[in-house]
Symmetry: C2
Subunit: 480 residues, 2 copies
């Protein structure tokens, strides 16, 4: 397949700039999973990346250079940063993208009380429109430099930009990947009709839209029909405003080589010593951002129920919860963190005894410790309320050394690919989760090994390189 140059567009870029103590500008690699996943792409294709200037130093660089990051500044590809109007960006990022679109797409709102879409929402939506327009202008300029390039938008920050680019460049090849769940149309009804239509109309301005699962793909095809009246052609493509959009289901994955190297790194080996010293006979692990979509509180409740109902595990099993702090200062997230700490303390108060603390909660950004936990778990709990994919469910089995069992939410996108080798749980059913933990802890070694081997093999043979190749093939198919 002949490849085209790529224009990657995402809110967060592959690097961000800061000032070192000595006063010189330094580049930091982006923390998000997206930058990691796309690193493979940079090695394979000629890429121009367009992203927001986020840090003060990013904005200083834009003021100096007009946005193009100099070649010697540490970017892994040609990189253009956009310094948006601060007020527009605040509404775009802190009101519309998070929490509104995040909460809508993860079904987190209790609709009796939240959201309340008022004048603040209207102003923020104007910011979302303005930031998307700003991205579109840059994309059009980049296309003028490379008319054969394919544009690859990412995620829920950029639903409107593709329509603006399409109107300016009707023949451009546009693709978009949505990394979070796509809800059904009743879920989208939380947005007023204009915004709901704009989101769908913008996304369908692309030639190709990728999501992680068949489930989100079906939801998108159906909501396009419900919200816009979009039809389908004989090949299953969505038809809207006289054009077709191919919707493809391609689960993202991890870099197996990177995790193999990490697993034997000094930092992970050091952390692993701590984990081994702290562990009992069995270790239940969870690794997550501290986000309500991850279902951390119910996970502790379930672990407490396990100890209530199966007291034989008392003193023999510890639950280690490694939680990345997330969106601190946002009221919903601060309240959720309080609830996490409260439930962990409640389980410990009920079940601790001399020298035994059943829940070990650590709210800290420590990736080597997470990888050490991956190696050492007997049970990995991934009980997300909803999750676009969930990479923890892939990273853990890849490096685990103990034939550990994966307990996996039916609402995590990864369940479609890995469910047959996991124990499936409903995220709201804490009793079912408690019994799944018991079944996992009690499983005989042969069964555990069979499942763990199958999981590791699936991830290894379907790593992030496979994901990128599949998407590039889809793109080539669409452009043919």
């Amino acid at each position: 397949v002949s490849r085209r140059p790529l224009i990657v567009v995402s809110n967060r870029g592959p690097i961000s700039f800061a000032r070192a103590e000595g006063g010189e500008r330094i580049a930091r690699r982006g923390a998000g999973g997206l930058a990691t996943a796309l690193r493979g792409l940079l090695a394979r294709e000629e890429v121009t990346w367009i992203a927001s200037a986020i840090s003060d130093e990013d904005r200083a660089l834009v003021a100096e250079t007009g946005g193009l990051v100099p070649e010697d500044a540490g970017a892994p590809c040609r990189l253009r940063l956009l310094a948006h109007d601060p007020e527009a960006y605040d509404g775009f990022y802190n009101v519309i993208a998070n929490p509104l679109l995040w909460f809508v797409q993860h079904s987190l709102y209790g609709l009796g009380a939240q959201p309340v879409l008022d004048e603040r929402f209207q102003r923020a939506w104007a910011g979302y429109v303005a930031v998307n327009n700003g991205f579109a202008v840059e994309v059009v300029a980049a296309l003028d430099n490379a008319p054969q390039a394919a544009v690859f938008f990412h995620d829920y920050h950029l639903y409107l930009a593709p329509r603006v680019v399409r109107d300016a460049r009707p023949d451009a090849l546009l693709a978009h990947f949505v990394h979070i769940p796509w809800p059904q149309s009743d879920g989208w009804s939380v947005l007023p009709v204009d915004q709901r239509r704009a989101v769908h109309d913008g996304l369908l301005a692309n030639d190709l839209v990728g999501v992680h699962t068949q489930r989100w793909r079906r939801n998108l095809v159906a909501s396009a029909a419900d919200v816009l009246g979009a039809g389908r052609d004989h090949d299953g493509r969505v038809v809207h405003r006289g054009r077709t959009t191919t919707i493809t289901s391609r689960p993202i994955s991890v870099d197996a080589g990177e995790f193999d190297a990490l697993a034997s790194s000094a930092a992970v080996l050091d952390a692993e010593e701590l984990v081994v010293r702290g562990r009992r006979e069995r270790l239940v692990l969870r690794v997550d951002r501290a986000d309500p979509s991850k279902n951390i509180v119910r996970g502790f409740t379930a672990f407490g129920l396990l100890l209530d109902r199966h007291p034989e595990w008392h003193g023999r099993v510890v639950m280690l919860a490694l939680l990345d702090p997330s969106r601190e200062g946002v009221p919903e997230y601060d309240a959720y963190r309080d609830a996490i700490e409260c439930e962990a303390a409640a389980v410990n108060a009920r079940h601790a005894s001399a020298g035994y603390q059943p829940v070990d909660l650590r709210i800290v950004d420590d990736f080597p410790l997470s990888v050490a936990g991956y190696k050492q778990y007997d049970v990995l709990l991934v009980n997300a309320v909803f999750d676009g994919l969930n990479l923890v469910a892939k990273e853990g089995p890849l490096v685990n050394d103990r034939a550990g069992v994966l307990v996996l939410s039916e609402n995590a996108g990864a369940h479609e690919e890995l469910g047959e080798w996991a124990l499936t749980v409903n995220p709201f059913d804490v009793l079912g989760q408690a019994e799944a933990l018991h079944a996992a802890l009690s499983m005989d070694a042969g069964e555990r090994e069979r499942r763990a081997d199958a999981l590791a093999n699936q991830v290894r043979t379907h790593d992030v390189g496979h994901w990128i190749d599949s998407l590039l093939d889809d793109l080539a198919g669409v452009s043919a």
Copy 2:
């Protein structure tokens, strides 16, 4: 069409018994809309009604008679009351039906925190199963007395009974009406897989299932496919376990004659005098149960925004909110009532002036006052989060004397039938609701009359008799 005798099955019956002060047993007519709606049926068909014994006096009667209500006891038809095991009934009613199924079907849960399905849920589900089994046993006995009878189940309390009856009497004619919204399959994923399947499998044991709108009908057909893998035949019927179920959309309605009589009754005329004395130039009305699905708090927020953004209405418009107390003592409902009172007070604190209190909140069960409000409103606000149908949107226009404007949520089932003559609002968009109130208050008289006449005419020509006839025709069609 030749009619069969009917066996009506619902949790709440057409009457319930109490002890008068003098010690004698008295019958009270059921307050629910269902009993009212089915009254027309009793006049037309030979009906046996099976319902739960709910009051202490109901249970005393069952102890005396075995359940069959004596002919002279005031029932409008042959009536059999079932005295369920109290613990089973408590789980059935107070845990599974309300809040769980009510909240799931109205999309009210904030899924990050609620529900938590634990041992209490499991016990309550066993109660739901037991009560449904109890109903099924009575239905089978009634069918043995009248083998040609059609069975007509009602609502979300009785999802499991039809399957039990079907297994015992494969050739029986079974119908079910669901009076609340039917969510999409992602909404149903709140129930663990066994319960989710049991609900769908039970409902599809019927030959006919009725809902209020095409929207709920589409959702049911789709969720039956997603949850059970049910297919469809060439006539659009759902195919499951080798049988077909017809899903029909029949919006319930009101008794026009009853409302005409009420409107000129002494009680309503007395109440109307009060309303007229309290009103300003314009009256915005809402009439609801105090339930989070009704979206009362956001309605006050929108009214406050109206006064903020259009100060010309200050002193000229009052919002009268007539709220039936609901499920008092249930924590979610007590908290919601607090939120209602708090937001009403906040709007009054911001906008009241000498002699002018913009929000008149009355949490009281006073039906004549509601009808008086219906006659007097200039704008009727129905902004439900989700609602199976919403009869207020039909009752108001039927008796209104002022060419009042209906502002109607797109998520109320009634919107499918009445939306073209209403001003449509998104229930989460308080700014949109404020502007719709302004548009309604500012609308010229000709436009108001055209819309109000069309609404009244639609309700009058599609009253509850029309609903019953349509369903009986559907039933005859299914049995042919």
